[in-house]
């Protein structure tokens, strides 16, 4: 496989072959764009004098984000999904491990290379009210992106208007300030700013969770449409399983800093192997009274543990109805239970 790797990535950084070999197991047959390799991010918990402990926000995650596809990252608060989103864009530095973007280790990039990466990997934030500078007009906001990367687009005004049309706005919005827009429109502006750079990879960090359902659908459809047109690669971070299912090709489920299940979206939803995935799916309220009547009663036990002192062994075992002695002692690693469907559990379901 290593041969294949070097074939389509020229000038790959040291360690890429190894990383890709390990990450590729999870999504065979896909072309890797971003590879996370044994990524760790621990945040110190500061006491009065010294560090009291570490929040293991991301703990040894190896993952592959396939080109032109959407990888959905699901988990509850404290699962580390947002930290991963920030790590893959190098908005924060990892404790250890690496992230490769088109074969380059992003934490080693400097100067021109770093700017190349910044241009190609972008993010849409959760909060459309905070992600736009209130003192800049739409034109300035988008133009800043162009100027930062010295992108020659001829007449920037014309280019920006074209972008605005692309996200469902128009030239009358050009010189307005963010406060004059609704949440959905602001998210469109944020998307236009990202598109201006013609990136390859976009991290979507709960892009619609601050929006109303009627607007959410508009944004989601637009994102899907843009992906098709520009062959974009998405890392879609969300806690809303309905939205994730709608958007994603593959899904990785996180629990307290670890990936517990990964596979094609349909399979994970239709046939979850990890008890946590099952519990998560069962706890989503379904907008269908007919289904609700037939729905088997679920047992949801406990709450997500603190990532400061995660339980030993399998981190889910205190809440797991199938937990055995082994689960309390030994930590399971991801194993393939069906073709392309991996789960980290000693007693997978089904």
């Amino acid at each position: 496989m290593a041969g294949v790797v070097t074939e389509h990535v020229q000038g790959a950084d040291k360690g890429y072959d190894e990383a890709v070999r390990e990450a590729w197991r999870f999504l065979p047959g896909e072309k890797p764009l971003v590879v996370l390799y044994r990524l760790k991010k621990y945040f110190p918990v500061k006491g009065l004098i010294r560090v009291k402990g570490w929040v293991r926000a991301v703990d040894n995650v190896t993952l592959l984000i396939p080109e032109g596809k959407t990888l959905g990252l699901v988990g509850e608060s404290g699962s580390g999904k947002t930290t991963i989103g920030r790590l893959v864009l190098r908005l924060i530095e990892p404790t250890s491990g690496s992230v490769f973007f088109m074969g380059r280790n992003i934490f080693k990039l400097r100067g021109r290379d770093l700017r190349w990466f910044r241009r190609n990997a972008q993010m849409v934030f959760q909060d459309p009210y905070g992600s736009l500078n209130p003192r800049m007009t739409v034109y300035d906001i988008i133009n800043e992106a162009l100027r930062t990367h010295k992108i020659d687009v001829g007449d920037p005004k014309e280019y920006i208007i074209k972008l605005l049309y692309e996200v469902g706005l128009n030239e009358t919005h050009l010189y307005r300030y963010p406060h004059e827009f609704s949440g959905g429109q602001r998210q469109r502006i944020a998307i236009a700013r990202v598109l201006a750079l013609q990136p390859k990879f976009i991290v979507l960090d709960e892009p619609t969770s601050a929006l109303d359902v009627s607007v959410q659908a508009q944004i989601l459809n637009m994102l899907k449409d843009l992906q098709r047109r520009y062959n974009l690669t998405y890392l879609f971070i969300s806690h809303d399983l309905g939205v994730v299912r709608y958007m994603s090709d593959y899904i990785a489920v996180m629990y307290v800093g670890k990936i517990v299940e990964i596979g094609p979206a349909e399979e994970v939803f239709e046939k979850p192997f990890h008890p946590y995935t099952k519990m998560l799916l069962a706890s989503i309220p379904v907008p269908d009274p007919e289904y609700v009547k037939k729905k088997p009663p679920i047992r949801v036990v406990g709450e997500p543990p603190s990532p400061v002192n995660p339980p030993p062994g399998c981190r889910f075992h205190p809440r797991c109805p199938y937990a055995s002695e082994k689960c309390k002692r030994e930590e399971p690693s991801l194993v393939e239970v069906e073709h392309g469907h991996w789960v980290a559990c000693w007693h997978p379901l089904n």
Binding site: M123, F125, D127, N133, P134, R135, Y139, E144, H179
Partner: protein
């Protein structure tokens, strides 16, 4: 279906004219600016409307504008120069009470002093050298304004810069810069300034003698005679002293605001876009925390004027025969309360000027508050609803 009409007062029309004038000038220099900044122009107008609706703000603005006019025009409208000793032409000029009229005899000596023969009314009286107090107060206004401008053009910005860097980068840089700031903060500003301005004059004397151009520029700014150039050194030393004591407060203020402002998602968004750090600091963080800084900055003009007068009163800063409000009070205090005007009038000018800047700063707090602007927008826009139904049927 709905039309909005404005109800404007006279002041608002003047404000509009002012802004429109300014905008057309900018538009001439940078074509297309007006169209791109429609929103900003609207905000500027609303800010002025807000100011027009605040009596305190109007009073402050008037006082400040009056002070600035006096300071600029003062040396030109002053009846005589700051060091003209009328006593040589009429002995009555010594410690003359306000509105004393002295007789200037027609002789070459008096002409040389710049005094016309005949009656000369000393509006605010005269000091012990028989100098015209009104003229000296006008020259003093110039001194205060120039000192304030030079101090405020440098001191606070050192603080803003350090505060931005400390707050944005955090960690060790923050720690280091803030400890230095602390050292400056624990010394009372005035005492520190006294120490500096006691030591600095000699050094500055040297600098001025090496750079005659600098000396000339300063002389013109302070509107003093060439023969008084040596006296500049102590005035300039006060300015340097005030630079050194005027930044720590701003460093603290700005750092605190940066710490909260950098948590905004748009800062992270800018980072994700690859915007360089200095640009994030100056384009994304600074404009968004500018409001409180502008308020303090405005008020500090008064603060600098007061401190400088205080230093001069203590014998540091302006030396005779230069005109300076603090110095005039100091020199006049020996004759207090008999020659009360020597203390009262410069004191009144200091009071009104500082009051003006404080009131203006206070009003700016409201003017710069976007919510205030929205409320003004709502209040002055009177909505006339023409329902389709009623017009149709």
């Amino acid at each position: 279906m709905a039309e909005e009409v404005y109800e404007k007062k006279v002041l608002d029309r003047i404000s509009d004219a002012l802004i429109d004038g300014l905008v057309s000038i900018i538009d001439k220099v940078k074509p297309g600016w007006r169209v791109k900044n429609r929103g900003r122009i609207e905000e500027w107008k609303l800010m002025l409307y807000a100011l027009n609706r605040s009596p305190v703000g109007l009073l402050g603005t008037s006082l400040v504008v009056l002070f600035i006019i006096l300071a600029i025009a003062g040396p030109f409208i002053a009846p005589v120069s700051y060091d003209t000793q009328i006593i040589f032409c009429d002995r009555d000029a010594r410690l003359a009470p306000p509105r004393t009229t002295v007789q200037i005899p027609d002789n070459p000596f008096c002409r040389k002093l710049g005094l016309k023969p005949g009656n000369f009314t000393m509006l605010l009286g005269g000091d012990d050298y028989g100098r015209d107090l009104w003229s000296r107060v006008l020259y003093g206004a110039r001194t205060s304004l120039v000192v304030a401008i030079i101090v405020m053009a440098v001191g606070p910005w050192i603080g803003v810069l350090l505060g931005l860097v400390a707050g944005y980068y955090g960690g060790k840089i923050d720690e280091l810069l803030m400890r230095i700031t602390d050292v400056f903060l624990v010394f009372p500003g005035l005492i520190l300034a006294i120490a500096f301005s006691a030591v600095l004059p000699y050094r500055i004397q040297d600098v001025l003698s090496v750079h005659p151009l600098l000396a000339d520029v300063m002389r013109v700014l302070f509107a003093i005679k060439p023969e008084n150039e040596p006296q500049l050194a102590s005035l300039l030393s006060v300015i340097v002293a005030l630079w050194l004591v005027w930044w720590p407060f701003y460093a603290r203020l700005v750092r605190g605001m940066v710490l909260s402002a950098k948590e905004n998602t748009y800062v992270e968004a800018a980072k994700a876009l690859g915007v360089p750090s200095w640009k994030i600091m100056f384009k994304h963080i600074l404009p968004n925390i500018a409001g409180p800084i502008i308020v303090f900055y405005t008020m500090d003009f008064g603060g600098v004027i007061l401190t400088e007068a205080g230093l001069s009163f203590l014998g540091l800063g302006a030396v005779p025969p230069l005109a300076d409000w603090g110095r005039i009070i100091y020199d006049g205090s020996r004759y207090f309360p008999d020659a009360w005007w020597l203390v009262f009038f410069p004191g009144l000018f200091i009071f009104l000027t500082v009051l003006g800047f404080n009131l203006l700063g206070d009003a700016l707090r409201d003017v710069l508050d976007p919510r205030m602007r929205r409320s003004i927008e709502f209040k002055i826009k009177k909505r006339v609803v023409v329902e389709e139904v009623s017009s149709g049927s």
